[in-house]
């Protein structure tokens, strides 16, 4: 199992993503100017502030050579995970439905939250029971998931909601408590919370590791 973790100018969570991936296989960084993904089995678009998040979060990163390659990789049905800023990039790139807006209270939130796993047919969800609660941290200022009502209905009907914030724990005003969504095929997942920061008992939870393990298991 070989993971590739993208790195943009302004990425800041790529080391933790690399560590989390490394616990379930081999992992290497892919610089944003690389057009060749080098035969990896799965891609992580990590958190941070790609290209300074100028204009809108993720708006410029989507045009990088590496993201062009990731779009093709995703359309081949191979696994792509976007975390936080990576989720914003995947939405801007049109690989995932919806958009991420400023938190409703305008504050940067940084706390541990509980998520409820959805009923998705996705390699990232293989190690979770639908309805199961997991604990992972969030840290973002622009994480309010938004999509028009009709789009939200479709996403729910197609079981694309991968994770919701547990009742009462929505930290940013996300529509229908949505914390993460997949594409229609299920091979692309984006979420605002950080599974890569929840892979070691030392930081309170290892629930995030199972998300990586699910993909590794699916590819073995």
């Amino acid at each position: 199992m070989n993971w590739g973790v993208l790195q943009f100018p302004g990425s800041c969570d790529e080391r933790d993503a690399l560590h989390a991936c490394g616990l379930t296989g081999e992992a290497r960084l892919i610089w944003h100017e690389e057009r060749d993904l080098g035969g990896v089995d799965a891609i992580v678009v990590p958190g941070g502030f790609s290209y300074g998040d100028y204009l809108r979060a993720g708006a410029i990163a989507r045009f990088s050579p590496a993201m062009e390659a990731v779009s093709e990789f995703a359309s081949d049905g191979r696994p792509v995970l976007g975390i936080c800023n990576g989720f914003q990039v995947l939405c801007e790139a049109g690989l995932l439905p919806g958009a991420l807006l400023r938190n409703d209270n305008l504050r940067f939130v940084f706390r541990q939250v509980e998520l409820v796993a959805g009923e998705c047919d996705s390699p990232f969800l293989r190690e979770f029971e639908p309805g199961e609660r997991i604990s992972v941290p969030v840290k973002h200022g622009e994480g309010r998931y938004y999509a028009p009502e009709e789009m939200l209905d479709e996403i729910e009907a197609r079981r694309q909601v991968a994770f919701r914030y547990a009742p009462g724990q929505n930290p940013n005003g996300s529509a229908r408590d949505i914390a993460g969504v997949t594409n229609e095929a299920g091979n692309v997942l984006g979420l605002m919370p950080h599974p890569e920061h929840a892979v070691d008992e030392m930081t309170g939870s290892t629930d995030g590791l199972r998300l990586f393990a699910g993909v590794a298991g699916a590819l073995v």
């Binding site: 809108r56 919806g98 807006l101 400023r102 938190n103 938004y146 999509a147």
Partner: protein, 79 residues
């Protein structure tokens, strides 16, 4: 280009500005929306709408208008 949050989308920046107004003595102001303006010089203004759709605005969440200055015309584009 004038880019603003679509009608119906919560704009917390606008709300924060609105809440600050009474303390400054500005009464009777509501529906404050905060967007952004992009100024540029273009040889061919014909492709600016495409530029807005692809990069400057996210059409899912934002409306945009293009105003040509010194061309004596203002062309609203976004439906």
């Amino acid at each position: 280009m004038l880019i603003r949050p679509k009608e119906g989308i919560l704009d917390p920046q606008g709300k924060a500005v609105e809440r600050a107004l009474p303390a400054l003595g500005f009464e009777g102001i509501e529906h404050v929306r905060v967007g952004r303006m992009v100024e540029l010089e273009a040889e061919d203004p014909g492709r600016l709408a495409e530029l807005c759709e692809k990069l400057l605005a996210n059409p899912l969440i934002e409306d945009f208008e293009i105003e040509e200055i010194n061309a004596a015309s203002s062309v609203p584009t976004n439906p």
